[in-house]
């Protein structure tokens, strides 16, 4: 069942179309992310769902009810703000109890629910602390508790981990996931961090310039990126664009010195321009058995990442191919000449959007 549905939702600020006819459907109990670079309209979309912005056109439904004209304080959503916005004049308990008190619940009930929520976010015993005395990670948890304690149909999170250091981010990511699973609340999570979105989400929507580029599971997005933007925004990829020719059940796409062979079923059947995404880890260095595709290259740059090594390999026409290999042997030296190979199924045909931006 869909908890949140957006139908052709648009938002115009002045003369700028910030959100361009978005269609979305978020399922109940789902961890759904809106992922995209800054200025892509993801935060505006979230704020429209929260009720902090009104859609210029289109329909916004939450649990089947049209919400366009429902004011923010009557929506079954709660928002965790990017800047947290914990009330500095209230302690932890009163921050979390803020929404419950407004609902006029009896005091023992409020105390019980706040206590439960403090357990959920692992902050039991912090009731009377001032929020300004807490660490960034603790403040983050109070912000989540303050929103979640109201048992919203949908919890909205606007880059809530953005201001924290990496280690804390990773820890809170796991905690967020745990909280989401244990409460079964629908989460809509806005982030520009693709690793975060891939780690957390059941499904995600990649946004670019006010549009949704693709919606799907993290694995789907990565393995079957629909557009060149998605392919290069999620992880790293080699984009190959050229005309496809077909012969003997195979398609061949040629782009400069690169020529890629794949099953013709995997390439669009027309003879137009085809764009392929070839992930760096699908390329094999010095294959022991012959592969369907091969090219000579020299190592231009080496980036040792720990478990893997990322190479920038220069090919005959001077372009760079990204190649990622397990670091099971010492990395190749710069200038080494190598043979690269990949299978027929390695490259994936994608829809070309506007020329993919270099998101590196």
């Amino acid at each position: 069942m869909a908890d949140v549905v957006l139908k052709a939702v648009e938002k115009v600020f002045g003369s700028e179309r910030v959100v361009k006819s978005i269609d979305l459907s978020v399922n109940q109990g789902e961890f759904f992310s809106l992922l995209g670079p800054s200025g892509c309209g993801k935060t505006t979309t979230l704020r429209m769902i929260a009720g902090l912005e009104t859609p210029t056109s289109g329909d916004l439904l939450i649990r089947g009810e049209r919400m366009n004209d429902v004011p923010i304080n009557r929506r079954p959503t709660n928002l965790v703000f990017q800047k947290l916005a914990l009330f500095p004049h209230l302690d932890v308990f009163d921050n979390i109890a803020f929404g419950l008190k407004l609902k006029g619940l009896p005091r023992p009930e409020i105390a019980r629910r706040v206590d439960d929520m403090l357990d959920v976010v692992s902050l039991a015993g912090f009731e009377r602390r001032r929020v300004t005395e807490l660490s960034g990670g603790q403040q983050q948890r109070v912000a989540i508790a303050r929103a979640l304690v109201n048992a919203p149909a949908v919890l909205l999170l606007d880059e809530p981990l953005g201001a924290l250091d990496l280690k804390l981010q990773l820890r809170l990511q796991r905690e967020l996931k745990r909280i989401q699973r244990s409460t079964g609340t629908t989460f809509i999570y806005v982030t520009h961090n693709q690793a975060e979105a891939l780690t957390l989400s059941d499904r995600l929507a990649v946004m670019n310039e006010g549009r949704v580029e693709q919606i799907g599971s993290p694995a789907d997005m990565y393995l079957h990126s629909a557009t060149s933007f998605v392919a290069s925004f999620i992880g790293r990829t080699n984009l190959i664009a050229g005309e496809a020719t077909f012969a003997g059940g195979e398609a061949r796409v040629t782009d400069g010195a690169l020529s890629v062979v794949l099953d013709d079923a995997d390439a669009p059947a027309d003879n137009g321009r085809t764009v392929l995404s070839l992930r760096p880890e699908r390329i094999v260095i010095a294959p022991k058995t012959p592969m369907a595709n091969g090219i000579d290259a020299t190592v231009a740059e080496v980036e040792f990442l720990g478990a893997t090594v990322l190479y920038r390999m220069r090919i005959a026409d001077g372009r760079i191919l990204f190649v990622q290999a397990l670091a099971d042997t010492p990395p190749l030296a710069e200038g080494t000449a190598v043979r690269l190979g990949w299978g027929k199924d390695a490259a994936v045909s994608i829809r070309s959007t506007t020329v993919a931006e270099d998101v590196e």
Binding site: L52, T77, A85, F87, P88, H89, K103
Partner: protein, 292 residues
């Protein structure tokens, strides 16, 4: 520390104390010295140093002043007048500041600031006589009331006129500190409260007002101090019928009653300080609760 001291110094570097002294010097000479000197003199005068009554050095003036219930009534009415002016000024200044915060257009903002500060551009004499003309029984305001069959209301030579004129001139002093603190409260608190289900009024009562209260208290302190010591406005608009401490003080100087004038000056100062002290305690309490 010794390593630092042993390091080759530039030779011209002043010590921390010397720099502090230079920074504080002008202010100290202009404000603190005269204040201490004046207080010492006032103290001495209040003990009948410049004897005009022949009672000799001592507490005779003090007991004369404090023993007269009339003087207590004047003190009380001065405090009341100042408190009422303060409350009314704050009540007008708060929404004014909130409105100014929302003005985006630069031109309108300039217009608003000019309007706000216009009372300060006019000398106190012409401003007060202006109010007399406006508020007198046959003045513009009462004539306007008359068109609707109302009035005339007595608004000059009583406390009403004094308060109107004080609020008018003190408003900018209240708007600025309140506006200042409002700009320091990010709008996201308001959004968060709304998101948690609060109505506009609840947001104001439970979030905006507590967070802006320190600015309100600073404004109240300024307005109270200025209005309890105001002299020209209460004199002109009160027409001698509104008796305040500052007015009594002035009269005694005119009568060369140095001892009594000194006692009243000290009482005036003490009263103002007592109220400021209370307000500052409230401020501390709210600050402690905010602590950011």
């Amino acid at each position: 520390m010794s390593a630092v001291a042993a390091a080759p110094a530039s030779g011209r570097r002043l010590s921390r104390g010397a720099r502090l002294g230079l920074l504080l010097g002008p202010g100290f000479i202009c404000v603190v010295l005269p204040f201490v000197a004046a207080m010492a003199l006032l103290g001495a005068y209040s003990l009948n140093l410049r004897d005009t009554t022949g009672a000799g050095l001592g507490l005779s003036v003090w007991s004369q002043f404090l023993g007269d219930p009339f003087n207590w009534r004047v003190i009380w009415s001065s405090v009341q007048l100042a408190a009422l002016s303060t409350v009314i000024t704050i009540l007008i200044a708060y929404p004014t500041a909130a409105a100014l915060l929302r003005v985006r257009n630069r031109f309108y903002l300039v217009v608003a600031y000019v309007a706000l500060f216009s009372p300060l551009l006019v000398s106190v004499i012409s401003r007060s006589y202006g109010w007399l003309l406006l508020l007198s029984d046959t003045g513009f305001v009462n004539q306007t009331f008359g068109l609707f069959g109302l009035g005339p209301y007595r608004m000059v030579f009583n406390e009403t006129g004094v308060i109107i004129a004080l609020v008018h001139v003190l408003l900018p002093y209240a708007v600025l500190p309140i506006l200042n603190i409002m700009t320091q409260v990010p709008p996201v608190y308001r959004e968060a409260a709304l998101d948690l289900g609060a109505s506009g009024w609840t947001v104001f009562r439970q979030v905006t007002l507590p967070l802006t209260l320190p600015g309100v208290i600073v404004a109240a302190e300024i307005i109270f101090a200025l209005s309890i010591s105001a002299f020209v406005t209460p004199s002109l608009l009160g027409g001698g019928r509104v008796l305040t401490l500052s007015r009594m003080l002035y009269d005694n100087i005119g009568l060369i009653e140095w001892g009594m004038a000194a006692v009243q000056a000290i009482v005036l100062l003490t009263t103002a300080l007592a109220v400021l002290f209370v307000l500052e305690r409230v401020n501390r309490a709210t600050h402690a609760a905010r602590q950011d």
